[in-house]
Subunit: 516 residues, 2 copies
Amino acid sequence: MEVSFKAISPSEFFYKNRDIAGFSSPARSLYMAIRELVENALDAAEAGRILPDVFVELVEEDGEKNVYRLRVVDNGVGVPGDKIPSAFATVLYGSKYGFKQSRGTFGLGGTMAILYGQITTNKPARVMSSTDGKTMYVYDLMIDVVENKPRIISSEKKPSPNGWRGTSVEFSLEADYPGSRAKILDYFKHTAVVNPHATLTFIDSRGRLYHYPRTVEKPPEPPVETLPHPVGVDVEMMTRMLNETKARNLASFLTTSFQQIGDKTAKEVLELAGLRPDQSPKKLDHDQVTALVNAFKRYGKFRAPDPKPLSPVGREFLEAGIRSIFNPDFVFVVERKASSYSGHPFIVEAAIAYGGLIPATETFQLYRFANKIPLLYDERADVAWKVVEEKIDWSNYKVPKPAPLAVFTSICSTKIPYKTVGKEAISDRPELERELTMALRECGRNLKLYLSRIEKREAAAKRLSLYTKYLPMIAEFAAKAADMRKPDIRPLLKKMGIQEIEQKASASEEQDREAG
Amino acid sequence: MEVSFKAISPSEFFYKNRDIAGFSSPARSLYMAIRELVENALDAAEAGRILPDVFVELVEEDGEKNVYRLRVVDNGVGVPGDKIPSAFATVLYGSKYGFKQSRGTFGLGGTMAILYGQITTNKPARVMSSTDGKTMYVYDLMIDVVENKPRIISSEKKPSPNGWRGTSVEFSLEADYPGSRAKILDYFKHTAVVNPHATLTFIDSRGRLYHYPRTVEKPPEPPVETLPHPVGVDVEMMTRMLNETKARNLASFLTTSFQQIGDKTAKEVLELAGLRPDQSPKKLDHDQVTALVNAFKRYGKFRAPDPKPLSPVGREFLEAGIRSIFNPDFVFVVERKASSYSGHPFIVEAAIAYGGLIPATETFQLYRFANKIPLLYDERADVAWKVVEEKIDWSNYKVPKPAPLAVFTSICSTKIPYKTVGKEAISDRPELERELTMALRECGRNLKLYLSRIEKREAAAKRLSLYTKYLPMIAEFAAKAADMRKPDIRPLLKKMGIQEIEQKASASEEQDREAG
């Protein structure tokens, strides 16, 4: 009957429950380790407006079964020497906790990968980084799981070779490369599609090289950190912001701490909360803080969150990427305007491709992206699957069964509402669901136009083939019956507009390609 | 280009990412809060071999929109007074970190529910508990999110009313009851099915009473804490166990610290690791620890983990539960023998029900349970969905489309490999997949027998109806033609065995019902 209680550290928690961070089987764990490090690498380059160069190498460890050494090198902004141990060997320590768009969101992935390597191989990780291209720091690190602290095995400071700036992470892990190879290669291919400004290089354990050079020479705008939007602010956050503000009165606290609040809005909100604009932010009591938060909820007239910090893939890039992989007969891309959920701005992009290399199936192929990373697992738990499967009736858009149909969805946000720490499935927030539905319906309507044209063209072609088959016979028969010479039927066919129909059909297909 | 780093506490992490613990929308958050507290309540009763009595009450808060007060009271072992603040207001502090079967697994749910209530309403939670039926402690608590520490608003010690022992948790939260009512009622209904020894009472915000009295008066065996199984032990765990052991030499360390290791096995494993049985466990170096863990992995002859700590639902209970809800025409339940993954024992139970109140659909209804709790969200991300959808070809078992088919799966384990902190989807470990597949195939074969009998019976009935329709006419016609009296055809029908076939068909259906 005795129950014992104890506290555990965050690294102990994730050590005991690595399934929830996606580190389940040796196959999936390798995939996770690669993607977490590649995403950190891309973020690190973009933080400095650098065109990313990411190099990934996987080597089998000598004489050990199912043990590999993984190395990921980037040319990003680097991690300062004194921050390296904590950044890579402390769970819940990182640079990803601000209000900006980034691939990493939990500040957990890189350390989780290293932790997984440590508990499966008992070897330290080697982290090298330079922030200035002159000095490089080299650490051998392990994680003290109970204390959630780095254990520094060795450290060294030396000149950076060839002026290299960036970060290199290298460690051993139990893995199943044959079992995860397909997913890993898909991951690189699809990451290249939505990051045309990045060069990705992967050398696998058999020495095969997969190289995706950049096709665009301009780095995207670096992600901007923004002020929080008033919708979605809860009491906890409000209390902290009130404690930290330098504003002397509530009116200036509101206008300087939140986006989309000007003087007029501040005045109205404070009135709604029963507070005076000249009150000190530091002196609100518990009930007044609650009143202010409730006023934010009830106000209802805030402008939507500023979408400036968002960096969507872009219609041209998405379409070019889809064409390069599937060479489809038809593509249509939609980029929705910025929207928001709980104060976080987001933009939905969606595309439909049809034909080409897309295999015909009873259902559809779904390709999902979030903040420019492909999501390859757990698709059936994702909001996009729900929309494509349940909200869209594809038969309305004349999609036959089976059909060579591929659906693409991309969401970018300062906060992607992932369902899992493994960042594979996005939660079905109603706002996201609505935007995805609208985008895909628009794609669907355009697909329907295309399919209708195809249908018309096929009908015309069928009619033409009927006429061209029987008209000469009728002509011949009639000529014989009347004992006349067989007439030239080409003017007749022309008169019936058959050629015209045929030409129209091809022309409209051309238009389609342009519109797509 | 400047990147700022910081550490965050576990409560801050879950505060920022409550979607990953299932607290996303106000509807789902209410469902999560209820289930987390009910599961803690059931665990608390079973820890003391007490027949659980769980009382849940939901009340709308006066004058506040979408704010409810939730109260969950149990008759379990209670939480000692000095542990209450940490147990309910510290993230990653709890009693659920041992090797035993329990509904809670992350030590997170109760505190997450209270944290969600706090950030949406800014009100403290009230926790009352008595471990002895004499003294009761009453606390009003809030959570210091930044520090991950309890803030005690008030505390009191007083006599327990009417000798009550147990725990009561009460707090306010933003919620959408109309939006979650169906799931919440399903949750109570299905929890009652697999916990026939528990009495569950729910009074909702409109004063409606849902009462599920226990139907079994015997509490299940309390969950037993076991030693870890050698398979699945990693370096981290081995290092800790070596540090904590009181054994003087490695041989006795192995036999006293792990299950399924006797003297002979210990000797063989140590030989494989290149270690001597008389070496001190405290003096192994890094490479020797690694060698020992690798020897565990390579040994390959350990007996399977002890299934004694497991407490499956049981065939009779599962069948009785299914009959009470669906009143089906056919049920078949399979309980597999204990199996294991990564050193954790588990038992799979599965059932198929057909007809009755089950609605006929193109696909199937799936009901999932894990450690005697129903899983109601994210079914498509679950291993059971994968098996039912992809691994089983239902047409092999003569299942028509549409069909009134319901599939039930129940997994119990000392560690359920959930994919999410919200405990909704179970990861597709190959061992689980295999056991589920075997169990469902056995169910499928029995369903096929049943459906074949139905088919035969229908064919017989059809033949009978043909004969009974035409034989009298033939008899009459023949009699008229021969100018004779119309004969009695009943002996003829009897001779043709038509009644016999009819009887046989009903008899085999009876047998089925007994077998099911």
